[in-house]
Symmetry: C3
């Protein structure tokens, strides 16, 4: 547990309200539990302090401080102290001691493959199969009837449901890509202290990567199937029963609805909202939100039928240039 005084001091803040609070974790604004600390970094949060359940909020100087919360007030945007906060709240890990750590809880009829490492406090549900050379780090939970193929890695504190399948080499919970430039222009790492949640019946393809949340979780919801070599960045929320086809990459903090299909080699920019029942054709680039039930393609992305027309018409441009030149010449002659 971390005391509010300690944290306020760490980030040069001033406490307003109750100053004898303790927190077990730092959470994202809209996902925080009542015992958590959170931070409000932009308008959507600052104008809606009641929108978080957290009992304390790190904020910049505000005109007034709504009742019912404690505040750590900063002379700057809380985003600037995030690297310090994440480093402070980063869970401490225990050292590996033996191949299957004593504190691991392995249910009945679980198969642990040769040379697979099962970390401290890991929990594995019944009938789950762990193939050889898998690495499952501290605090991971895996439901029953799951299959983890060889050389998959599940990093600390990730949670997998029932009937989850990880194909070989899948990486769950690598650090999200979070860095800032310091005043010298050097890249400085922002610790990634969240985790990954894979719900029931999720399958992750060979050598695909689902990064852990910066804070909070990256989530893949029930029934979603992810193909090989796919990249899911920190804090993405992928809906239920989606298909994410091979080599697609989704930037951070994207929300994808249910029953949506992203075909192969699609790219998605950060912080977008893609609806339910959306189909996006292969190699498309998504840079805007997509409403439910859309069928889209291309880069820039367009309704699929329109994109086909545009793609076809592109082939006529060299000839079109000649035709326009001819028209210009004709008109010039007429004008004489």
């Amino acid at each position: 547990m971390y005391h509010i005084n300690e944290i306020s001091k760490l980030i040069n803040g001033k406490i307003i309200g109750e100053d004898n609070l303790e927190f077990s974790k730092l959470s994202p604004f809209f996902e925080a539990d009542p015992e958590d600390l959170t931070f409000a970094a932009d308008e959507s949060m600052l104008k809606n302090i009641a929108g978080t359940k957290a009992k304390a909020v790190i904020v910049p100087v505000m005109e007034e401080y709504p009742d019912g919360k404690a505040y750590i007030v900063l002379e700057q945007n809380p985003r600037n102290v995030l690297p310090i906060l994440l480093n402070f709240f980063k869970p401490k890990m225990q050292k590996p001691e033996k191949q299957i750590e004593d504190s691991a809880k392995i249910s009945e009829n679980v198969l642990i493959g040769i040379n697979s490492y099962i970390g401290h406090n890991v929990e594995i549900g019944e009938n789950t199969v762990i193939h050889p050379n898998v690495t499952i780090m501290e605090g991971v939970k895996i439901g029953k009837n799951s299959i983890i193929y060889s050389n998959a890695v599940i990093r600390e504190f990730c949670v997998l449901g029932e009937n989850v399948i990880l194909q070989p080499g899948a990486v769950i919970g690598a650090d999200g890509f979070g860095f800032i430039k310091d005043k010298n222009g050097d890249n400085v790492k922002i610790e990634q202290i969240g985790n990954v949640i894979l719900e029931d019946n999720v399958e992750i393809g060979a050598n695909s990567c689902v990064d852990r949340g910066a804070i909070g979780s990256t989530v893949v919801k029930r029934g979603t199937k992810i193909d090989n070599l796919v990249h899911i960045a920190h804090n993405d929320i992928i809906g239920e029963n989606c298909f994410i086809i091979a080599q697609t990459g989704i930037s951070g903090s994207v929300e994808v609805g249910n029953n949506t299909v992203l075909a192969g080699q699609v790219g998605v920019a950060g912080h977008l909202k893609i609806g339910n029942n959306v189909v996006v054709a292969a190699k498309s680039g998504i840079t805007n939100d997509i409403p439910d039930n859309s069928k889209m393609s291309g880069y820039p992305l367009r309704p699929h039928m329109e994109d086909l027309r545009v793609k076809m018409s592109m082939g006529k441009v060299p000839e079109l240039i000649k035709r326009v030149k001819k028209l210009e010449k004709l008109l010039k002659n007429e004008e004489k």
Copy 2:
């Protein structure tokens, strides 16, 4: 061995012809051996029953049933019962018992790396080097003089020829991406019971993935070299002496000829036929068959020189729009 009665009952079929047959495996229509069971799901098969060597064929109701085969007749398209069939025919695997299973046949002068797992009934040819932390699962065969680098995974029943090289992290034989929607809209896995065949002198790059066939084999033919992070989907047949450059993705059931080059980040849609001696430039999207000796690029794909002209002309479109507007204005004035 599975009896025809058992299978017919499983999928609610009616047997026509010889009803005392047994099969060891289910095979694709055009690749089946004479002792196999197969299924005919579309016109190209149904009108050409003689095109399969299988002694029994699962079919929908037909007008007549050509002689010389047994039939399991369904009231629906056999494709619908494929998930049931694949689950039924899925080979049962033995549990891992020790790092190098007793039944593995390791030839002379083979080097088995520290902590590498060698599964039941694996066969490894002489002078082959297995580096540390490799996983080779049940029934895999590897020819002589091959090199398997660390953290590569070869899943069950795949076959590698001589002088094959797997760079680190390559995954051979992960499940193909096969799912159907059930009546609730939930994604349901179709078991992938085929394998992968890598012929002699094939090299697979770091973290590249070659998925196993749904039924039948995914094949990479002799001398073909595959770069890093490439995705080869289920039932692809890649010809001899091809180069498949980094981050290219090939969808399922694609056939690529010999001596063909797919440059980096190319995408190939499913069920296509790409000829011999084809060159496709980087980042292209292939959505149609390509004849032999073509040099192609772009998305949509065009002959390379034409694509260059189209790409160049695109830069002139903003100006072209202005020029057309001007012409329209001129003509309007004249008309007055």
Copy 3:
């Protein structure tokens, strides 16, 4: 050490100058040390023999042989004998004998994960953490305070600085993609005898691959951060404090300046020079050099604002074709 006579004989050369020399290694022309052998294969080298520090140079027949070097003269381009030379100079590796080889030098307070392999003569600096199931091959050097996550592979003779992080499944030092066609049209491997150097504070994402140099090194300079599933090919030199975002692929022998950002799914053709402080937007294709401070996007690549205009204008082409057709009709009528 290899004697000049032995090498000259191997490649059918004729020695001019000092013929009693020995070399420990073959190096690229501009990076050779004074005790090295090198080769000059194109004009930029042949006209600038003083540009290499190597004491001996393999050359084709020249008009004159500048003083101060020894020469092995060939009746053909030295590039043709490169496969023979690389095979000859390929370092011989020792066999793995135990999980942590006796010759490895592990500093104080280093954590070696369960089942990780530490090769012959590996050196690991203090406080570095090696997670379970990592493979570190012969002669690798890792600086202090680094973190190597599970299932990462570092192949022989690669060098990692301080504070380096490898996310799970990262592959450092796989063979570059180097092949030639023999006279039968078969693909023949060119051995890749260089290494990879990752300088201080470099981070490599999950399942990303940095290939070793063919000869000489692939280098990622200090502070550069590479995201997941990125491909860095042989002999690339990536500058300081760059961001290389997920699924980007960089072909061989590319030079990238400092503080440059390549966004997701970018592709870079071989042998290019990308400047300092460059930003290239996602999904772009780079086929030409880029000067410092450029902001670029698209494929073909254009200045970013121009590319946006072009991309927007493409959507108007179908309508533009109609408008031109109308104009043509109008003019035709007028001409009557």
